[in-house]
Structures are given as structure tokens and as C-alpha cells.
């Protein structure tokens, strides 16, 4: 199996080397598109690298009895990498089509748990091809989390091990397809107006998704639904959300030539400064706890989470309202509609 991973890596890296810009070099232009594309491309490469290490560690755990903790760490690193791309709805279609295969959320009805249990009951030798034919709920990072953290998981029994290896192998395949898709700049043909729409939608979609990760578990005031939390089994929801915000700040700044600078150039320095300051203050005051699931069990935890949600909502106001109006942008022309 290791051979497979090496092949996947080399395919992506080879293509990267063949492109006109070295994939690992920050673009020397001051073009916004180049830098945002570079950030996305690098995020996709980090995702494929971490998911390949996850597959390798799962195999090592099951065949060489290496420590489960190693698999957990690699799962966490893959989750962290995924947060840079999670919730985005702009980019190459071949990459976006796999979003739900990488992670299915929210999982109101414990579909992941039910379908994973069903797979384990089947008398089946699982491999990545068979996993590709299964529900997306059993293909992604949530399925791996179930194997690693759910009490119903029978790891390291043979059947669970085999299923986990097939899932992580398929995950590595899917992330390599994502990285492959990002080898081509999807925005190279856009004029400035269409590009700005895309760029701001990229940010806005990710912010909307991040907010949903809080609003769904917060539910109605005083009646939280903690099982709607992302990664409630591993109690790491707030850690992942923080990486979302870090990724959005990186996209906003885009190596110093992003939206922040564009707003300044267009005479909106005050707005640019408010957005950057709000990103920074949100991250500097991030909750200590990593567990949204635990936070929502207490009144003070609920209030703290609500305060965090309000900070993201203010970011949304700045981007959806002030930026969109100042730059005359329609965020998701039809996508925010229902007619």
C-alpha cells in the first residue's frame, strides 16, 4: 500500500513541478489571483500529504501494532489541513465535487454511526474501490473519527482494521484528486469583476459554513444540540473552527496583496483595518476549550459559544454587507436565493 501513496504523491508533485510556477514558491507577482490560488494550491497539497500519512499510520497500527495515538495525531493533522478548504464553494469542480466525500456534516441522525456499523456487519473484504461505492458518510474524516473514538468501534479487530485501512486509503486517493485539480488555476480567465465575486464568495462561503458549525449545535437559546457539533466524538470542534478562521484570515490577507490591500487601494482603508483587526482579536480571544460538545453542557459555556458566534457574525456583516456594497459585489448571485 505504501507504494500506492508514493505514486499518488509523485503524480501531484510532478504535475506541480511541470507548471510554470514552482508550487512551493510564493508567487513573485503582486497579482491577487496568483496569491489566492497559491494559498489554495498549498492547502490542497498539505491535505494530500497529511491524508497519506494518515493512511500509512492506519496501516502501521493494524499490521505492525504501532500506537493508536499515532493514527489519532495523523487524523488530527488531516482535519487541520482540511479546515483550510472546508466550506469553500469556489474553485475547480473536480475538487469541489469531493467535499462531501472528505467530510459529511452535520450528521443529525447519526448516519455515519449507523452506516459504519452496517459495513462492519457485512461479510466483505473492504478496499478503496468498494468504499468509493458506499455512502459519503462512510468515506470521510467523520468515518475515521468514528473508528478511532466511538465506543461502538471494535478497533483493532481485523474487520475494523480492514475497513479503516480501506477508508483512509480512499481518503488519500480523494485528496490526491483534489490536489491534482488545484494544479490548474481556475480563475485565470476571469476579469476583475468576476474575480472579485469569486474571491469574496470563497471567503463568504467558508465563513457561512464556519458559522453553521456553531449555529447548528447552539440551536435555540437554552436548548443546545451538542451532537450537531463537528467532531463531537473526539471533542475537538473548537480547534477545527479556529483553523477555519486562521485560513480565512490568510485568504483575506493573501500574502499582503489580497482583499485587505485591495480595499485600501480602493479607498476603504478603515474597512480593511476593521476586518483585519477583527480577525486578529477573534483569534487572540479564542476559547481555551477545544470541545464545543462540553461547552454546550453548561450555561456559561453556552454563553461563551454564543459570544464566539457573534464575533463571526460581525465578520459576516463586514464581508457580506460592507465589502459587498462598497465593491458592488453579489455574493452567490443565485446561491443565496430560493425562488
Amino acid at each position: 500500500m505504501k507504494t500506492t501513496y508514493l505514486l499518488l504523491s509523485s503524480t501531484v508533485l510532478l504535475t506541480a513541478c511541470q507548471s510554470t510556477n514552482d508550487a512551493n514558491q510564493i508567487p513573485d507577482s503582486t497579482n491577487m489571483i496568483d496569491h489566492v490560488y497559491y494559498i489554495e494550491q498549498q492547502s490542497a497539497l498539505r491535505l494530500v500529504e497529511s491524508s497519506q500519512r494518515l493512511a500509512e499510520s492506519f496501516e502501521g497500527y493494524c499490521t505492525n501494532q504501532t500506537a493508536k495515538e499515532t493514527v489519532v495525531i495523523q487524523w488530527q493533522q488531516t482535519m487541520q489541513s482540511w479546515m483550510a478548504l472546508q466550506g469553500q464553494e469556489r474553485g475547480p469542480e473536480a475538487a469541489l465535487s469531493l467535499n462531501w466525500n472528505i467530510q459529511f456534516w452535520p450528521d443529525k441522525k447519526n448516519t455515519t454511526g449507523r452506516k459504519m456499523s452496517q459495513l462492519l456487519k457485512k461479510d466483505q473484504t473492504w478496499d478503496s474501490e468498494l468504499i468509493q461505492q458506499q455512502s459519503v458518510t462512510t468515506q470521510g474524516l467523520g468515518a475515521v473519527e468514528w473508528l478511532l473514538f466511538d465506543p461502538s468501534s471494535t478497533l483493532p479487530k481485523v474487520d475494523s482494521c480492514q475497513l479503516g485501512q480501506a477508508i483512509t486509503e480512499n481518503l488519500a486517493l480523494n485528496t490526491s484528486k483534489i490536489a491534482q485539480a488545484w494544479q490548474v488555476n481556475p480563475w485565470s480567465q476571469l476579469d476583475e469583476t468576476m474575480w472579485l465575486n469569486e474571491y469574496i464568495a470563497l471567503l463568504a462561503n467558508q465563513l457561512d459554513y464556519s458559522m453553521k458549525k456553531l449555529s447548528r449545535p447552539l440551536a435555540k437559546v437554552g436548548q443546545p444540540r451538542p451532537y450537531f457539533s463537528e467532531s463531537w466524538r473526539s471533542e475537538t470542534s473548537l480547534t477545527w473552527l479556529k483553523y477555519n478562521v486562521v485560513a480565512m484570515r490568510d485568504l483575506y490577507l493573501a500574502n499582503g496583496v489580497g482583499l485587505n490591500r485591495y480595499l485600501q487601494e480602493q479607498g476603504h482603508s478603515d474597512l480593511a483595518e476593521r476586518i483585519e483587526d477583527h480577525f486578529n482579536s477573534t483569534l487572540e480571544t479564542w476559547p481555551q476549550s477545544s470541545s464545543l460538545f462540553a461547552e454546550l453542557q453548561t450555561k456559561s459555556g453556552y454563553q461563551n459559544t454564543l459570544a464566539l458566534y457573534n464575533k463571526l457574525e460581525y465578520l459576516k456583516y463586514l464581508i457580506h454587507e460592507e465589502v459587498a456594497i462598497e465593491l458592488d459585489i453579489a455574493i452567490g448571485f443565485n446561491a443565496t436565493d430560493g425562488d
Binding site: E93, A94, S97, Q189, L190, D191, T193, D328, N334, D339
Partner: protein
Amino acid sequence: MQPMVINKQRRSILKAGIGSMALSPWLTACSSISGVDNRPALISCSRTSNGNFGAVVANKEGSPIHSIPLPERGHGVAITPNGELAVAFARRPGNYMQLFNIKTGVSYPITPSRPNRYFYGHGVFSSDGLTLYATEGEKETSQGIIGVYQLQGSQLIKVNEFSGFGIGPHEVIRVDEVTLAIGVGGVHTQGRVPMNIDSMNPALVYLSTETGKVLERVGLPDHKLSIRHLSSTDDGRVLCGQQYRGEPEEGMPLVAIHQRGRPLVQLNAEPEEWLRFNHYVASIAVLGEHVVATSPRGNCYGVWNLATNQLIEIAALSDASGVVISTSNNGTPQWYISSGTGKIVSRTEKGYVEGHQTNVMWDNHWNHMPNA
């Protein structure tokens, strides 16, 4: 009634952003072989680069030929069967219809909504092109109305109203010479805010154009599935696309097919697959035994095999919006799918997909010229 004249007759103008559109490699490739085909093929409402709204008449590649300014955001378009005239409908709750000439881009005085009426975004011409049927509603109640208009020269004169078929109609199509199918959403809105989610009563309704009477009415098991967008097969079956107004975590079927005299049959997909559509289907088009349904809110479109009632694929397309059937340069019929991001995708029934970028932000629906 004195028509509210906002625009005098005017020549179409290609907005600077559209006029300076870079030719895509796809278009360039086609052009180098056969020259640019500048015959009108596709029509849609759109948003312009400076934030205004218009209707765009485009060639087969989606390159604008005419841009007709609209006073407010448009939605659906109806084309006369001879391909001479089109009407752009205001997005609901809408206050105008805009008649224009497809070949010249000349627009005529708008047709305003009557007092206590809104336009609901769609309409269809009779087969002789002389009568227009538009979905409308009463302002206070959203009671559904089909406004019947006679085309007299460059004017649309309201001559009748059909009512009594339900609340909140959206798309209307012609299924034969004397029958309309209407997606009756069931939702009473104030502005765009729904007021009756718990009691909404959507339906697919067939109406006689001769009598205005309801010929048949069918519903879905869940009353929160608002029936909105329609398409039909060559053999007369009607497909409808829904917007789900219930809990966000419910993966409800959003497309159904109907044969007269039988119940609606929902298309198959797993709940987690339906969730990809984010509770909303915008446009539907049938090609052979397959159907494509777009979801701008889900940033995707789905492909089903109607013979097996099986989901074939969900493909990502940011802000996926309109879909029509048209023929490629080599005569192969295929889906043309638009996007609010300007992307256009063509897809054959066998699944061969091509895409290219335009600089038009396409609105929810596309229409294609007869025989284009």
C-alpha cells in the same frame, strides 16, 4: 390601464464588461473552425458588472449578442414559438414584465403589474404565440393567478385571469395545446418572507387554457416540499423541482415526475445525497432518458436516469442555475448548464462534459431559442 413607461424603445447595448469579454479557449477553438455563430440561441436574465440587471440574448457559446436593461432583478423568460419576441419576468414579488425583440434587442414599454397583483417570475406563450400566461398572485394573500395576456403589436394586454388553484404559483409550462402545468408552491409570502409554513399546501396543477378550470391536482407526501420549477418529457410527463421549507437536516427528495392520472413519483437518492442540493432545485431539463436538475444553493447539479429512477451523479458547479437542451456544433443534443459565476457547462447524455467561462452572471433560468 396606462402602461408605466420606464424605457422607450432602445437599441441593445453591450455593456462594457460584456463587450470586452475575453473569448474563451472553447469559443476560440470553435471560431477558428467555423467562425463565430452569432445567432441568438440562449436567453437569460442576469446581473451586470456594475450591479444592474438585464436580460441577455446570447449565442450558443453564451457570448452576449444583446443586453436588455431591466428595471429590477429578473427571473424567468418566455419566448414566442417563432423565436421573434421574448418576455422577461420580474423576480417575485415582481412588478413588471419586459417584452423585447430577440433578433434586434429592441425592448418595448414594460408591462407593470396591476394593483394588488405581483408577478411571480415565470410565464409561457401559447403555441400560436398570441397569448401569454404569467404566474401572478394577490398581494395580500398570495392567492395564485394565471394572468392571460394578448400580444397586440408590441403590447401585452391583460384579457383574463385564471384563479382558484392554490397559493403561490411559480413556474408555468405548456404541456399541450390547451393545458398548462403549474408549480403551485403553496407559500404565502410578504415580500419574500414565508408566512404559512405549517399550513402550506403545494401541488402540481393542470389547468385548461380554454376554461381556466383545474383538470388535475397532485401533491407530495410532505407538505413542506414547495413545488416550484417544471420541465416536461417528449411523451408528456412533467417533472417538478422542489424547495424544502422544513428542518435543515432533513434530506428530502427534491425532484419528482408525473404522468397524468397517476401519483407523483419522487426521484431516488439517499438522504445525504439530497442534502447536497441544500433544499432547493432551480432548473430541470430532460434529455432522452436522463434529467439534469440544478441547485444554486447546493452549488451542484444532479443527473438521474429516468428509466431506472437512479441518481447517476452529483457534479459540482458553483451557483449552478439554468439548464436547457440544445445541440452542439456537430448536432449532438446536450444539456447547457449556466452559473451565476459565468461558467457554462455542456454535457452530453453519455456524460461528456466541457466548460468555459463567460463574463455574464446568469440568473436562475435559461431559455433556448426554438430549433437552436
